[in-house]
């Protein structure tokens, strides 16, 4: 019950901060447009369709992670997190409430990024493919929200979140198969890439957009992506401190 109360409060807050809400939806759309300008400059033989949706997924991953982590850290610095705990909210309710609250925003981000990419890049996918692409980006957004909650437990202020960007997001760009196949990387680098959730989202997207796609080829990647949600939930529940 308290989970829903916290989620509702987060949605009320987002409604009250229209600038933040608009920015978190418009910013990814602008970045996708910049991506279009970049890809326009590429030689025609570069298979840009292999990069478009995965990069869109990366943008949602990055923004969902960052916004959620920073807002939860703000709860700590403003004292509202401590007040929530003393008022009687349990940490599992707080994590659940945050996940549910930000899922609304992450869903809109995922849909906006996907449909803008399809439109700008003239990607002609079937309805089933578009639906599955949305599901992958949405699942990645959920993982990102959980990752943001988990990372926020290590940060005492907003500035402490930023060192995690080069630690988590940048390796995701280089080592997860987004730009180059992970099989071409040294073993240790490929291993790091396989530890990052974006790797599995990129794998699924690459499979889905193949004309010969069958769901069975992505079961494992889907399972691992969903597994990340539960793993990060448990880790965040263990690391969110109630006492010091």
């Amino acid at each position: 019950m308290n989970t829903f109360i916290i989620a509702r409060r987060i949605l009320n807050q987002l409604q009250g901060d229209k600038k933040y809400l608009a920015l978190s939806i418009i910013a990814p759309l602008i970045i996708i447009y910049f991506l279009k300008l970049l890809f326009n400059a590429f030689p025609p033989n570069v298979p840009i369709t292999n990069f478009t949706i995965p990069i869109g997924a990366l943008i949602v991953h990055f923004l969902s992670f960052l916004l959620c982590a920073i807002l939860l850290v703000q709860e700590r610095t403003r004292g509202t997190l401590e007040r929530m705990l003393i008022s009687g909210y349990r940490r599992t309710s707080i994590i659940g409430g945050y996940t549910l609250g930000y899922l609304g925003l992450a869903t809109i981000q995922a849909a906006a990024v996907l449909f803008e990419s399809l439109w700008l890049f003239n990607l002609d996918y079937s309805g089933q493919t578009i639906f599955l692409l949305f599901i992958v980006i949405w699942l990645l957004a959920v993982v990102s929200v959980m990752l943001g909650i988990f990372i926020s437990t290590f940060a005492q202020n907003e500035g402490h979140v930023f060192p995690f960007i080069p630690l988590i997001i940048l390796p995701s760009v280089f080592l997860t198969g987004l730009i180059i196949d992970t099989n071409t990387l040294p073993g240790w680098a490929a291993f790091i890439g396989k530890c990052l959730p974006l790797h599995y989202a990129v794998n699924i997207i690459h499979e889905i957009i193949k004309p010969t796609y069958s769901l069975s080829s992505t079961y494992l990647d889907f399972t691992i992506l969903i597994g990340y949600i539960f793993l990060l939930w448990i880790l965040a529940s263990l690391t969110l401190k109630e006492t010091e």
Partner: protein
């Protein structure tokens, strides 16, 4: 009747820094209890230990007979906490903030209670306005409402009147008195020494240690009073203890001497007395 707060040999360390050192204290129920001391004395650390967000390094704490760590869920139903910062959601209205914190304890008739508490804090007209439009003093009052919505038996107020104007400070203390009259125990920390006079009993904290525990009247009596009088046109001064007996003795000595044409008494202010007590204690520790 058990005490509202019982602290037994409590110490709290942050690494090598000892923030609280061997605190022994009891707070009777229904009192306005003041925790007075300069910034960095350990007041917030003590309050956070009492509300269960800090773990004692050694010693034990009981609030309403319960351990703030072991019995936290039972205890949180009965304690209110107003932190030093407003700790509110700026993008929500005052009423939504109160409803949110009240909902954690499943308060029955929450809507009505939120309206009542807003009226109690004289904020009915602004209840639906966003907190970000409020002044610092009004935010403090909303914060107090959030601490009181579930009708706690004891409320911990950390610097509740810091950085608010004198008029609002008086209003806040009127609210505190109303609460105390209704049987709620108030545990108030402040670095404003004059507020010690408004409490029923006061503990002075310095460098994490208890320096003194006394009533405000007895604290005032620890100061000195400057007696100034004119006798045959000559101004004379003497420094006396501020106890009623000492003043009476001195005035008796002067008698009804017709040559004395004026008398004035200048007692130490509470700030000087408290700082003097802290200084004396620290000097005796460094020399002893």
């Amino acid at each position: 009747m058990t005490n509202a707060v019982e602290i037994d040999h409590l110490s709290k360390d942050y690494g090598k820094l000892r923030a609280l050192d061997n605190i022994i204290l009891s707070v009777p129920q229904g009192a306005i209890y003041g925790l007075v001391g300069p910034n960095g004395a350990g007041k917030t650390t003590l309050i956070k230990t009492l509300v269960g967000t800090l773990k004692p390094t050694t010693g034990s704490v009981k609030v309403l007979g319960l351990d703030p760590l072991q019995d936290k869920w039972k205890l949180r139903k009965h304690i209110g906490y107003m932190p030093q910062t407003a700790a509110l959601y700026d993008d929500l209205s005052a009423k939504k903030n109160i409803l949110f914190f009240g909902a954690a304890q499943n308060v029955p008739d929450l809507e009505k209670k939120a309206d009542d508490i807003l009226a109690f804090a004289e904020l009915t007209d602004r209840g639906n306005d966003l907190v970000r439009t409020f002044s610092g003093g009004m935010k403090k009052r909303v914060s107090l409402c959030c601490a009181l919505i579930h009708q706690p038996k004891i409320v911990f107020l950390d610097e509740p009147t810091a950085a608010i104007d004198p008029h609002l400070k008086i209003e806040s203390w009127n609210l505190f008195r109303k609460l105390a009259k209704s049987g709620v125990t108030l545990f108030i920390s402040t670095h404003l020494m004059d507020e010690a006079l408004l409490c029923d009993k006061v503990t002075i904290l310095g460098n994490g240690k208890i320096i003194a525990v006394d009533t405000p009247q007895k604290l005032l009596e620890r100061g000195k009073t400057k007696l100034k009088y004119s006798e045959n046109g000559e101004v004379k001064e003497s420094i006396l203890d501020s106890t009623p007996e000492s003043l009476a003795n001195e005035l008796q000595k002067l008698g009804l001497n017709q040559n004395i044409t004026s008398i004035s008494l200048q007692p130490d202010n509470i700030e000087n007395i408290v700082l003097g007590i802290i200084g004396e204690k620290q000097n005796s520790e460094s020399t002893g």
